[in-house]
Amino acid sequence: MATLQYILKRLFLMIPTFFLVMIIIFVLVRFLPGDPAIAIAGDRASDADLEAIRERLGLNEPMLVQFWLFVTNTIQGDLGSSILMRAPVTEVIFNRLPTTAFLTLYAVGLSLLIAGPLAFVAALNRGRWPDVLIRTVFQVGLSMPVFYIGLILLTFLAAQLRWFPVGGYGDTFGARLYHLFLPSVAVALYTSAIIMRNLRSAIIEVLDAEYVQFARAKGLPNRLILGRHVLRNALISTVTLLGLSIGNLMSGTLVTETVFAVPGVGRLMLEAIFARDYPLIQGLTLTFAVLVSVVFLLTDLFQSTLDPRMRLT
């Protein structure tokens, strides 16, 4: 019951957040130099053409009227029509969203698979060569830009060895796992480096905690100590970190989707900005805001189940 109340309260608090996001994005896109009418009609269009386009898009209305229309339409679930795609913004976004969601979750999954075991190995061998080796390798991963990692992976694993396709995203679940493997790895290498460092120090901290010393003294088997006491407690900060890095992951898709030719919302955002597609930029930003807010909420909920001491207020 308390949890439900908490969720409702959090959802209610999201409303002012979204309103703020709407104001900011509305003002920001209109401060971008460059006229959407020129972006649509091209540099060669006549002034009369541009005027007609502005009229059609409602860009000649006063700012406040435009903002009022934006807010009222959004509340009714109408994000307007994309200038670039000539289709409703909601439809355009929902067509592309599953691909990005898949890519992001895939990358998170891979990050955990890579970072989890290695963090344990590093922590348990603190200061010895496996620890140093793992940390060095991840340091390199952390300092390389995602697009560069992406191009290296593409060049060797896709173009030369031909183990993976260079781009695209497949039709079936299996095909998607295969097609999106390289882009996910490119993103995961960066995220897993962050997670590994965090998890490693969390594990070390927990290993030194008195209750773990006590469990050892009790003669509990190592497997049980690590599984029940160490992992659970070390995970708390990692989950928070993962939740917080969702924003990073999302912005990472802008680059990854472009390099790997994956038709998701990240690439869509880039196209929308270059085309000065106001409705689409607004719609995408709102979608990102909703997603990030929901992930934050889920993170908090998950944290409280891991650690009952954290009260949901």
Binding site: D43, S46, L154, A158, A159, V166, V259
Partner: protein
């Protein structure tokens, strides 16, 4: 053993002999594009990724000749212009149909040309401004003109006069012509055009499919109907490096817009044919010629001697080496690519001459250390290279060149408002006539002479006269005069012409990109 040998000989001899008398037929070509189409329609195509595909889906009454300097029969098997230059008569080919097999009639021609010249609908209607009326009787098409128009035949071979099906438009959903067009495009299918292909798949921003039109009227070199391919699958891959990797991994057969820095490497690959198709693309930089800058300060570039000086001080060959790895040539006509009809070719335009440049600067009395802003496209490696080179080349003139990086729409807005000193720009002809590019670059009423603010009464009068001059010699003289005036006034930094760099798998033959940029697939073949 003997039998095997015999069989092997038979196979080999067939394989050798086969290409001699028949083209490889069938197969699907996989094509990696730099950008996707939005709406391929003869009148609503307003970006190159749309314009360049119109010809694959729609036919025009006439077609450009192979050398690009005249027109040949298209949907119309013959054509003539009356002596007073005010009537064009054409005869529609017998038995031509749209891709779904329904007949293409004079009614469709009238409908298509009327919608193309409707100013409220088509951004290209200005190209057909001379047309007074279009009528059809059976296969005879008559176009009456308000005034003689030297470009009319070229326009009938241009994408915007592509013929669409009136019946399909009448039946389509939508309140306006544009809505109908969008609905027809979204549903795809063979009914609307008579080009070598029809649209059979489309995913916005991702992919597109063309399927062969089984009813296409033209025959190929082997005497059988075109096109040879079953279809073309397009994938949109904006990233240059990824597009090339796709080709190298064999996932696609063609990758367009190869960055020039990668050309030598792909040229050396035996599995790839690195094509540099001649184009009408020119790279130039408009110079603000107004007396004062947008902020009210005096504009040093208003002095023609300073503009001439920067042109002389620019080593075009060095730029071409740096930016294009040598795959380009300096502009020779100040107003158009050399491949455009009526371009004059007086030799190097402002050949590199630092002494002359410095003399002009001294004569103009330009203050040492004068700051001039060069506006480039953010993220464009070419533009960055150009800036770095010009900064060095112009330093001996006492010019302190500083860079300002913006994106495309911002650059367009600056060009219109005159808030720039010099900025990079490019142009590809859309039509096979110099009228369009000269109107854009030099004629003040069109767009302030490409935003430079240059306004020359003699030039403008020549341009207006040339628009109705049907005597080819007189018109050629008018264009020669305009080019001489423009070169002298130097409202541009004249730079270079670049080809279209397209990398094609060795298994593909016959793919062409025309000087106007049009992608031509009908004679392409692929052997797997």
């Amino acid at each position: 053993m003997k039998r095997h040998l015999l069989l092997a000989t038979a196979i080999i001899s067939t394989a050798i002999a086969a290409p001699a008398f028949s083209q490889e037929r069938g197969g699907v070509l996989n094509f990696a594009r730099y950008d996707g189409s939005n709406l391929i329609d003869p009148i609503y195509a307003d970006r190159n990724p749309d314009i360049w595909m119109v010809g694959s889906l729609f036919d025009t009454l006439l077609r450009p000749s192979a050398d690009g300097n005249s027109v040949v029969a298209g949907l119309a098997e013959d054509h003539s212009v009356s002596d007073d230059g005010k009537t064009v008569s054409l005869t529609l080919r017998d038995g031509v149909t749209f891709a779904d097999g329904t007949p293409l009639t004079g009614e469709d021609v009238v409908f298509s040309l009327d919608r193309a010249r409707e100013p409220d609908q088509s951004p290209w209607s200005g190209l057909l401004g001379s047309i007074e009326s279009v009528s059809a009787e059976g296969n005879a098409i008559t176009i009456n003109l308000n005034n003689p128009d030297p470009t009319i035949l070229s326009m009938l071979a241009t994408f915007t006069t592509g013929i669409v099906s009136k019946a399909v438009f009448d039946a389509a959903e939508g309140a306006t012509d544009q809505e109908k067009s969008a609905a027809i495009f979204a549903s795809g299918g063979p009914g609307v055009g008579s080009g070598p292909f029809y649209l059979c798949g489309f995913e916005q921003g991702t992919s597109m499919k063309f399927c062969a039109n089984e009813n296409y009227w033209r025959d190929g070199a082997d005497g059988k109907p075109l096109p040879y391919l079953e279809g073309v699958n397009f994938q949109i891959i904006p990233d240059d490096a990824t597009r090339i990797l796709k080709l190298q991994s064999g996932e696609v057969d063609v990758a367009e817009f190869i960055p020039f820095s990668r050309v030598p490497e792909l040229d050396a690959d035996p599995a790839i044919n690195m094509n540099l198709f001649p184009s009408t693309r020119i790279i130039y930089s408009p110079i603000n010629t107004r007396e004062t800058r947008a902020d009210g300060s005096p504009n040093p570039l208003a002095d023609v001697r300073v503009r001439q000086a920067v042109n002389y001080a620019t080593n075009k060959d060095a730029l071409i080496g740096l930016v294009l790895q040598g795959a380009g040539k300096p502009m020779t006509s100040p107003l158009m690519a050399a491949a455009t009809p009526l371009s004059t070719n007086p030799g190097p335009l402002y050949g590199y001459d630092m002494e002359k440049a410095q003399a002009l600067i001294a004569e103009a009395g330009l203050e040492q250390g004068t700051e001039i802003t060069f506006t480039t496209l953010a993220g464009s490696a070419d533009d960055s290279t150009i800036f770095a080179a010009l900064q060095q080349m112009w330093a001996p003139l006492g010019i302190n060149l500083v860079v300002e990086q913006v994106d495309g729409p911002t650059r367009g807005a600056k060009n219109r408002s005159g808030e720039f000193d010099i900025h990079t720009y490019g142009w590809v002809n859309d039509v096979n006539d110099p009228g369009q590019v000269v109107g854009w670059l030099g004629y003040t009423p069109t767009a302030n002479a490409v935003g430079t603010g240059w306004d020359n009464a003699e030039f403008n009068a020549l341009y207006e006269a040339s628009q109705t001059e049907i005597d080819p010699e007189k018109r050629a003289q008018q264009y020669a005069d305009m080019q001489a005036i423009y070169a002298e006034a130097a409202p541009l930094l004249f730079m270079y012409e670049t080809p279209f760099a397209v990398a094609v798998s060795a298994s593909v033959d016959g793919y062409v990109q025309t000087p106007l940029g049009n992608n031509i697939f009908e004679e392409a073949t692929v052997s797997r």
